[in-house]
Amino acid sequence: MTTTTTTTTTTTGAETLVPFEKVLESYDPAMGLEVHVELNTNTKMFCGCPTRFGAEPNTQVCPTCLGLPGAMPVVNGKAVESAIRIGLALNCQIATWCRFARKNYFYPDMPKNFQTSQYDEPICFDGHLDVEVDGETFRVEIERAHMEEDTGKTTHIGGTTGRIHGAEYSLVDYNRAGIPLIEIVTKPILGTGEKAPLVARAYVAALRELLLGLGVSDVRMDQGSMRCDVNLSLAPKGSGRLGTRTETKNVNSLRSVERAVRFEMSRHAGILDAGGSVLQETRHFHEDTGTTSAGREKSDAEDYRYFPEPDLVPVAPSREWVEELRATLPEPPAVRRARLQQEWGFSDLEMRDTVGAGALGLVEETIALGTSPQAARKWWLGELARSANESGVELTELPVGPAEVAAVQKLVDEGTLNDKLARQVFEGLIAGEGTPEEVIEKRGLALVSDDSALGAAVDNAIAAHPDVADKIRGGKVAAAGALIGAVMKEMRGQADAARVRELILEKLT
């Protein structure tokens, strides 16, 4: 995890950014996180169109999700089931009776120019999720989780950035319109102090893990099946008040969550320090610079004119149904982690690091393929985490997955590679040079296991260092290290150090 620390106040255009540590001297942050989750149901929220990703434009639409006159919605029972299970996993109350409501506003990606959502009657409410940051537990209170539908996808044509600014016109694909979304909203997250960015990230990571465990979504932040909006405000330290908040969108990775919180804290502090007031607005996060910029100015405050959806009837889950669904929940993340930690024999610190790196699932999968827990952890938290950080991507986004890690470790176990060579193989895999075998071949990385070749190198080393050889003959076995080094150098690292040592001792004792 890299953090950007600035030790001096900087200005970005018209903005002043206060260094993070200084922010905390004067202000308490309050955060609110809104996460939208795309469910992995077969069909859409209100119609039977398929939800498969990547289809040709406008091939997965019908009168209902296209908003044609006269069409009517019918609720997908599986989506309701998923919503309830998510709520239960988040320790929420499940409503005994709730309705859908129309959120009215105009936008071309919305076929009806209203979104069928839930307003003051969410299906789940008042829950919590505990997250751990550096050994400290924070309880994030969940305000609500409710059902709604996704919008179509707009592509902006003309203009330079592919974004909406300066575009000449837009193209709309409604395949995504109507896909079920669950919106999960936290209550204000307070008392996190300097850990605010980490708590935000940990919450989103933990939520992601929970949703994966439930099997309700593939929660790919990079593909948009999990979207996070970050709300942040600052209040004078100890005042107990809440300041004016901003909402930041386009936060597409765990790393971005953390960076967005950090940046907004600095930015708000800059404004407040100068005696100004923070503008309540929606901002856009920029992946490349880790900064936020203002969205389009809104001409009126949003009045969505919510009213109960008259084409749908209320959803009233029976308590029997809720209990049936409760029985289908997987073990809670904390319980799962404790079990895995025990199975794997990790220390508390090792487990914490694994979870914190977002590597739990990856490590688990790698172990399932036969790798030892320590080896799995070593690779994911070492070489691969380093590589991911350097490229600014998540571990899950690397071209290397559990299968590759297991394969490489197997080659180490078999003696075809040692650690150092394995690292080079990973380099090659990440660079897209092919399978582990192909990389080994192209780069000539295999360990030499031919004893005669090794023996020749050992002979060379003995000849080059006669005094060291004498010491060894005299019983100072520890001195073999220098000879091993020489052999490894001659073999360009492609030798198993343990075997080299054996050969040296064989020849000299």
Partner: protein, 99 residues
Amino acid sequence: MPEISRDEVAHLADLARIDLDDAELDRLAPQLQVILESVASIQGLAGDDVPPTSHPFPITNVFREDKVEPCLTPEEALAGAPAVEQQRFVVPRILGDEQ
């Protein structure tokens, strides 16, 4: 007496994405005022003890199975479109932000 001024009518028309010109505003605003006065007669009639009705009958829990149904073909979906490009609906440049 509830009022709906000409300015308010213009604002509401804007919210409803209808471009009313001056002549229309002149004509419609007073009519709306009259109608509003008439319907405003219900204000305060029913107290907190009366629940609102959104549906005449108390049906609940109408769900459908998560099973794929036939879609429209893209030709059918795009048939009424004012403009089409790359099998998508062409819309003029959008000013506002996504929600």
